[in-house]
Symmetry: C2
Subunit: 194 residues, 2 copies
């Protein structure tokens, strides 16, 4: 799913207009209902995905949706209510790459504060080497390290996690990798999602 | 901050009523505006905090707010937009324990899917051994391992992270610890937050 925060003009509880104000005891401006007083907090969202390995290669999907149509990514998407981070990673991999995975462990956490997102990537094993293309993917493919299309990657968080994975593999030891991304210098259609 | 998701009765974009429906290409019911068609996604939120150490002891806060008024917790709270997970952990520790910390690294990730939360705890060093009580805390104190008030802890995620920290310290090696919590068997006022 690629969904953005919707505008906050009206109270989702009672339907009256909201205004920006700092609630008592708070330090930040919030959307507050002018009628019922409900405070509408907005918080970062998690995007969760898999580095799914099969015989030394990694599964990538080519995006069939914006942002970054036609570019390559790890299978990943917004975490849903009522699921765990690991279940979200496996679900997104099934949806985008028609691939069943066994989740291994958390490998990378990437903060992208300017778009209010935290990206989590899990290491995983592709079950039976089977995969396909979900409705949000043009195609899926397994790539060895030398074949990764680094210049055609959709998102910096994905490139970060992939590079860390190949680095760790060459060292023979997998750790936890974290990064905080700042807005790209070049804005525009090539860098819509951090 | 202890804020819950607010009811979703009206469109926050145009103010018209919403209804529950599965959007085209989706698999889950969403709140969809009957007038403008905006889909209102709801996603899990992150609670981020610190295991702040000073001379072998850990900083705990006694809660001055519900849920779990009077019980002990690690300083932690909802991550805000425009900040990183590490910055959120440091901010919450400053707000709740008036304590400046140097963030070390991610130590624990706890999924609590039935309340739509993911809790992250960072290891940290208390700067100068200074702390106090913010408006959401009755008091703060440093506890050695033998003094931890295990029976008076506010949240299971906090107990999990603290036990893992003392276990790792006794082993001399700190790792990353993950857990998925299910609803407590005994529901009611003693277990409102997982």
């Amino acid at each position: 799913m690629s969904h953005m925060h919707t505008p906050m003009n009206f109270c989702s509880d009672c339907g009256a207009p909201v205004s920006l104000a700092v609630p008592p005891g708070d330090t930040l401006q919030r959307h507050v209902c002018i009628k019922c007083g409900t405070i509408h907090y907005q918080n970062p969202r998690m995007v969760v995905g898999c580095i799914a390995e099969w015989e030394g290669s990694i599964l990538l999907c080519r995006r069939a949706i914006e942002p970054r149509y036609g570019f390559w990514t790890l299978p990943a998407g917004f975490m849903e209510n009522n699921e765990t981070t690991g279940a979200a990673a496996a679900r997104e991999t099934l949806e985008e790459a028609c691939a069943e995975v066994e989740i291994d462990r958390l490998f990378a956490l990437v903060n992208i504060p300017h778009i209010h997102q935290v990206h989590l990537f899990y290491t995983a094993r592709l079950v039976g080497g089977q995969f396909g293309a979900g409705v949000e993917s043009l195609e899926s493919r397994l790539f060895g390290e030398a074949e990764i299309p680094w210049k055609d990657m959709a998102f910096r968080s994905v490139s970060f996690a992939l590079r860390a994975w190949f680095d760790d593999r060459s060292r023979g030891s997998f750790g936890l990798h974290t990064a905080d991304l700042t807005p790209p210098k070049e804005s525009g259609p090539l860098s819509p999602a951090g």
